[in-house]
């Protein structure tokens, strides 16, 4: 247990007195820092009121968001248990006002009531920010750069002048070594004078530029190619949806890159620090008569003791890195061993903000600045942090899927360039592996290798991202002055020092890292912390049970490689050779084999074209003759190639009262023998002329999106809810079908579907033909009996 440095009791103290009866507006209350701040004020200053400016969610009002994202958070567990749940909600009702507001919009998007409440506040604390270090530049500019200015403008328009506290970051000082005191950027000797207005214009324009660039013929072509590589022949609608998704992602990535590049060019580690820095400057210009205080925290991490030791919200900056390291994925992370990692527990930041609010503006006309950082007062060296982390994981290892503890790698403190190069190399190799695997016609368990490669690829990709984004921070050797912070702390009376203390010296890093932070991180990451071997099939069993639940309504099945290990070429080969003599068979086999690569390529490009092209071969075949061959086709070709598990599964669904439908691009003559297995069959049908097939199809064959539409039509006709239905298929060209239902199942998936199914958590089944069934490369019809061939 961690020793609690500050007691939980509340005598009459200065801060509470100062803020008693005050109304405090807070932006960003749903964030990590914001929630901690709300909790601190709710519990520590019983007589203040809060006005929370919150954006509406996609499907929720601001009030709902606040209830769910702020007050239901475990930060309030302590308060709830101390005062009782009903009393707690009563208190929230009484003291908290929620206002629709968006710092990304001029005038903050306030309505009249919002304006009235906002105008009535004594203090405004702005903690809303796009904290993601890899946000697109335009978004970061709107929120981080313009946010504080918009608030100042609104307050000025309203003709009020509350104390305005804007939360910024220490890293506005930029990438440099040495002292970074608590002063305005313009007062710094290293100041580069850039006009924030033209930065805003440029950022806004860069979205339009990137968007225009993304629409060039060449780019669109490459997006389309990428979508096809990912999805295969999934049909036009899915491919175009994916292509558009990729385009938007590209634009966004482009803007992230633009932000990073612009920040770097001006000497900031990333777009976050860059936009925050310019935000401070803009605020300085636009503040008018407002009394403004800026609080600049360093890297905020889990709390030292309040509301509970180790409290954290969301998976934050250092956590993914730590977990990747503990899982043995991230073997190196750049950093200077003797450098300082400026981490600051969230409760110290919150206390500092509360103390600034209570104290009020520092006095003169200028903006007053308080930095909340540990680097100068109580430094944590990078080497020490790494040692603490690795020794902790040495004693409390994570476990891999097989239940074996993972050994953490030794840290070598390489430079950023070296790590990036190494990671990039690994990523390139995995890219090649991924590409190669996707080109191989793999299926089932072999295809799962690809899913694993893809998983690794993404993990390495994330690691590269961390190094790019956070590497700069680990290498930053600026020392942030905290004179104002210490003065603030010292000005508190003894009781407040205990309650609202903000001196970073209180933190014992050994205790903090090993007893407070790491246990929280591991718990939040939901990783395996014991060697207990779980049932490897537990997940499959659970998913299977859901698929076979009685309340499901329909089960749709693909045919080829889902029910039978065969395809249209094979069934044609069987039918076509049915009446051929030995010599003709050899010729037929050779011909088919030489055509195979071309057919395969066509099939992968467009299933419908392939089927149309291929079915021409049936031209001139007798309807009666093919009908007559049905039973033999079933015995000789279909059953020997069928997966017994599939046949069993269809009937299991039927027994459960689910409707069973076969939806396939195969021909009706070929699937007819399977009719008794299903309630209905939707398949390709050929037209005939006086009992002779024309080789042309009656309608577009049910493949790709047509198949999904056919299923939707069917469901509508039979009043079936597809969300309560199951679909079985084997390839990415079946994605539209699988996407159409609530319970998709991948059968012996090929590489693309295997990785998709793994990612989306679908049930994957591996079915095989009966051992002992024939395994012919090209199934030929049985030789006509000797008597007949003699004739």
């Amino acid at each position: 247990m961690v020793e609690q440095s500050w007691s939980g009791r509340y005598p009459e103290v200065m801060i509470a007195d100062q803020l008693a009866g005050k109304r405090i507006a807070i932006t960003g209350s749903t964030g990590f820092l914001g929630t901690a701040l709300v909790e601190r004020l709710m519990r520590g200053v019983p007589d203040c009121e809060l006005v929370l400016l919150v954006r509406a969610g996609k499907r929720s009002t601001p009030a709902q968001r606040v209830r769910r994202e702020v007050f239901r958070n475990d930060a309030f567990d302590r308060m709830r248990s101390e005062s009782g749940t009903d009393e707690f909600w009563e208190e929230v009702e009484r003291r908290v006002h929620v206002v629709v507001g968006d710092v990304g919009r001029d005038g903050l998007g306030l309505d009249d009531e919002g304006r009235r409440l906002f105008a009535s506040c004594d203090t405004v604390i702005h903690s809303a920010a796009t904290v993601s270090f890899d946000a697109p530049i335009d978004g970061a500019v709107e929120v981080n750069l313009l946010g504080p200015t918009r608030i100042a403008n609104t307050l000025n328009e309203l003709g009020v002048s509350p104390h305005f506290i804007s939360v910024s970051t220490c890293y506005v000082a930029g990438n440099r070594r040495g002292a970074a005191p608590e002063q305005l950027l313009s007062d710094s000797p290293f100041h580069i004078d850039v006009d924030w207005r033209s930065e805003v214009t440029a950022a806004r324009r860069s979205r339009a530029d990137a968007d225009a660039q993304s629409r060039s013929t060449g780019q669109l072509e490459s997006f389309r190619k990428r979508a096809r590589h990912e999805l295969g022949a999934a049909g036009t609608p899915l491919l175009s949806a994916r292509t558009e998704q990729i385009r938007q992602r590209w634009v966004s990535d482009h803007l992230v890159e633009a932000g990073r590049a612009r920040a770097a060019s001006l000497g900031w580690p990333d777009a976050y620090a860059y936009t925050k820095a310019l935000g401070e400057r803009a605020l300085d210009e636009s503040k008018g008569d407002l009394r403004v205080s800026i609080v600049r925290p360093a890297i905020i991490e889990s709390s030292w003791s309040l509301p509970t030791a180790g409290w954290i919200k969301g998976f934050r900056m250092a956590e993914p890195i730590i977990i990747s390291y503990a899982r043995g994925l991230l073997k190196e992370f750049p950093g200077v061993p003797e450098g300082v990692v400026d981490v600051i527990p969230v409760d110290i930041v919150v206390n500092a903000i509360a103390a600034v609010a209570a104290r009020g503006h520092a006095g003169n006309d200028d903006i007053d600045i308080t930095q909340v950082a540990s680097g100068t007062r109580n430094p944590l060296q990078y080497r020490r942090l790494v040692n603490l982390v690795s020794s902790w994981f040495g004693e409390n290892p994570l476990y891999d899927r097989k239940g074996q503890p993972i050994a953490v790698p030794a840290w070598s403190f390489p430079g950023r360039g070296a790590v990036e190069r190494r990671l990039n190399r690994i990523q390139r190799n995995l890219d090649v592996a991924d590409k190669a695997l996707k080109m191989l016609p793999l299926r089932g368990k072999q295809a799962m290798v690809n899913a694993e490669v893809e998983e690794q690829r993404e993990e390495v990709g994330r690691a590269v991202g961390y190094v790019k984004i956070y590497g700069a921070y680990a290498e930053c050797e600026a020392l942030y002055g905290v004179d104002n912070l210490i003065a603030l702390h010292d000005a508190l009376d003894d009781a407040d020092k205990a309650e609202f203390g903000c001196d970073p010296a209180i933190v014992d890093w050994d205790v903090y890292v090993q007893q407070v932070h790491l246990p929280t991180v591991v718990q939040h990451a939901r990783v395996k912390t014991t060697g207990e071997r779980s049932d490897p099939d537990a997940r499959t069993k659970r998913l299977r049970k859901r698929v076979l639940a009685p309340e499901r309504q329909l089960a749709a099945f693909d045919l080829e490689n889902t029910i039978i290990a065969s395809n249209v070429v094979f069934s044609y080969a069987w039918l076509a050779t049915r009446n051929l003599g030995p010599a003709d068979r050899v010729r037929f086999t050779l011909k088919t084999l030489t055509e195979a690569p071309g057919l395969l390529a066509l099939d992968q490009r467009d299933r419908t074209d392939f089927l149309r092209h291929f079915y021409r071969r049936y031209e001139g075949a007798s309807v009666d003759e093919l009908d007559r061959l049905g039973p033999q086709l079933l015995a000789d070709h279909i059953l020997t190639k069928a997966f017994p598990d599939a046949l069993r599964r269809v009937r299991e669904h039927r027994r459960l009262g689910h409707k069973t439908v076969l939806i396939t691009g195969a021909l009706d003559v070929v699937v007819k023998p399977l009719a008794p297995l299903f309630d209905d069959i939707i398949c390709a049908e050929m037209t005939d002329n006086d009992g002779v097939y024309t080789g042309e199809l009656k309608a577009v064959p049910p493949t790709g999106e047509v198949r999904a539409q056919a299923l939707r039509d069917y469901a509508e006709l039979h009043d079936i809810d597809l969300a309560e239905s199951v679909a079985y298929a084997d390839s990415s060209s079946d994605l539209p079908l699988l996407d159409a239902v609530g319970f998709p199942v991948a059968i012996n998936p090929e590489t693309r579907l295997a990785s998709m199914a793994t990612k989306r958590g679908w049930l994957i089944e591996f079915w095989s033909t009966a051992e002992g069934g024939a395994a012919k490369p090209l199934p030929l019809g049985p030789l006509p009996s000797l008597r007949r061939s003699r004739r």
Partner: protein, 539 residues
């Protein structure tokens, strides 16, 4: 089919006490063989009698039997123009292995058709009486009835497989005093005369079982194809002590009263399975009598088989056609005919054995009645050992109650997808839950028997009926209840365990494992089958 030179009189079967001079004993092992040494001083081997000498003129004997039937009028006297005549015959499950051409069924059917033609009968149907077995393929039908009959009847749809699931063409003739339904193929039931052509390979075959079971369906056979009946058939190879037969005979009474007139033709063949000469002949010789040539051909066969993949081996063995010789043919009234037949079967098969044994060993060959031209799946391994071989006794089982059965067979986890679809599901689904026949019967039989898909495959493809694997399991239910343990030597371990048996890699291991059940120094008896023998066990 007689050999060129007259053979010496066949020697009867006998029991060999294993001593130091006894060479290793031949065990069948699926599509392969093993030579095993059995413990000296407490082991014995039961050898079958040598093949009886066949009738010199089988066709003549057949005509003679038809003209001079037992307790019935000569066949021509039963025929008249305008009558409905149905010829039913035993299906692919008999004999084992299939016999060389011409098949006995062909000889008889041709003789019957000659007489029918002479009598001016023109409404003739020929039906493969397969009950719930798989439909025979055209090639198999052709082999059974011969080219002439096949070409004459098949194209017009007058030669066909019985379809027990055709609701239009199955009738209930009545119920026995035990409330057993008697069901029959409509064509047969409505015929003026049914001529049933049997091949009585073992003493279970024939009698009323031919018509009451062969031409029946699920409704009719479930009266006796159940665990209770099978557990009260001690054994079903011994009609006098077989509940299975009593039930069939009761059904026969109903056929006599309400069914068509039956003219029963039964035949017996000798045990000349592997021939007196040729590569396989060594398999029906006694080991100490193997000549240098025999040894050489056995070694060559073993070496060859070891190199072959299992599918190829299966093909070789399944292609074997036995040079059986007809030893008797009798026709006329069912029960009288069957009495004579049974005597003939016993004459060939019975071997007197004194006293029971602690451990019974048997080498299972590649074939059962249900995998001709197919795959011997694990369920068929079970039925071969615990159903057929175990039950080949009269008096009491060769092994004592609570004793151990050791069988050798590779028992691969393989199934014929066309012939045995319901077996696959039975094995994967039912046996994964339980191996208790009563439990299986109660929980799963109905579901499998009435499954539409199995029904479809039985009727239109070449699949055994959905319920058939259950019957296989019931066939072994007497042995399952009676034995202390079953061990399979050299089998696929997973498959063996799924059957509820114990796997062993060598005979030595198996014998040691068995001692844990039956105690130290157990007595061991090996049944040297095939060729088939039936133990006549006395105290």
């Amino acid at each position: 089919m007689s050999t060129d030179q007259p053979r010496p009189n066949p020697r009867p079967g006998f029991v060999l006490e294993v001593d130091r001079q006894t060479p290793p004993i031949l065990f069948h092992h699926g599509e392969g063989f093993r030579l095993e040494r059995l413990p000296v001083g407490r082991s014995r081997v039961i050898y079958p009698g040598e093949p009886l000498i066949g009738l010199p003129d089988p066709d003549g004997a057949i005509v003679d039997a038809l003209l001079n039937p037992i307790d019935d009028d000569p066949l021509p006297a039963l025929m008249r123009p305008g009558m409905k005549l149905t010829i039913a015959f035993d299906d692919i499950s008999l004999p084992l292995p299939p016999m060389q051409r011409p098949d006995v069924r062909q000889r008889i059917i041709e003789a019957v058709l000659d007489m029918a033609a002479a009598a001016g009968v023109d409404d003739v149907h020929i039906i493969a009486a397969l009950c719930l077995h798989r439909r025979m393929t055209d090639a198999e039908l052709r082999h059974a009835v011969g080219d002439r009959v096949f070409e004459a009847f098949s194209p017009d749809g007058l030669l066909y497989n019985h379809d027990a699931e055709d609701p239009e063409n199955m009738v209930i003739l009545g119920h026995t005093d035990h409330d057993e339904a008697v069901q029959m193929n409509r064509r047969a039931a409505e015929s003026d005369l049914v001529v049933y052509v049997n091949i009585n390979l073992v003493s279970m075959d024939g009698g009323w079982k031919s018509t009451a079971t062969g031409l029946s369906g699920y409704e009719g056979v479930k009266a006796h194809h159940n665990v209770k009946t099978m557990r009260h058939s001690r054994s079903f190879m011994d009609q006098d002590n077989s509940e299975l037969h009593r039930s069939n005979w009761r059904q026969g009474d109903i056929i006599k009263k309400h069914g068509p007139r039956i003219f029963q033709i039964e035949t017996t063949v000798n045990t000349n399975v592997f021939g007196h000469e040729g590569p396989m002949s060594v398999l029906q010789k006694r080991e100490w009598e193997w000549s240098m040539k025999d040894r050489a051909s056995f070694t060559a066969m073993q070496t060859g088989l070891k190199r072959m993949p299992s599918a190829a081996k299966r093909k070789v063995f399944q292609a074997w056609r036995a040079p059986y010789e007809l030893t008797s043919v009798q026709a006329g009234e069912v029960e009288a005919v069957h009495k004579r037949t049974t005597e003939m079967v016993y004459r060939q098969h019975l071997v007197p054995v004194q006293g029971q044994t602690d451990i019974l060993t048997m080498g299972l060959p590649y074939l059962t009645p249900y995998n001709v031209n197919s795959i011997m799946n694990p369920i068929l391994v079970m039925v071969q050992g615990l159903g057929y071989f175990f039950n080949l006794y009269r008096g009491k089982p060769v092994v004592r109650e609570g004793g151990v059965l050791i069988m050798t067979h590779p028992t691969p986890w393989e199934f014929h997808p066309v012939h045995h679809p319901s077996y696959i599901d039975f094995f994967e689904q039912v046996l994964a839950e339980t191996t208790d026949p009563i439990e299986i019967e109660k929980r799963y039989e109905k579901q499998f028997a009435e499954d539409e898909w199995y029904r479809h495959l039985y009727r239109t493809s070449n699949a055994y009926h959905g319920v058939h694997p259950f019957y296989m399991w019931y066939w072994g239910s007497h042995a399952l209840a009676y034995l202390g343990q079953v061990i399979i030597v050299g089998g696929d371990k997973r498959a063996v365990r799924r059957l509820g048996f114990k796997p062993a890699s060598t005979m030595q291991d198996a014998l040691e494992m068995a001692e844990d059940v039956v105690g130290p120094k157990p007595t061991i008896t090996h049944v040297h089958n095939p060729p088939i023998l039936m133990a006549d066990v006395t105290d």
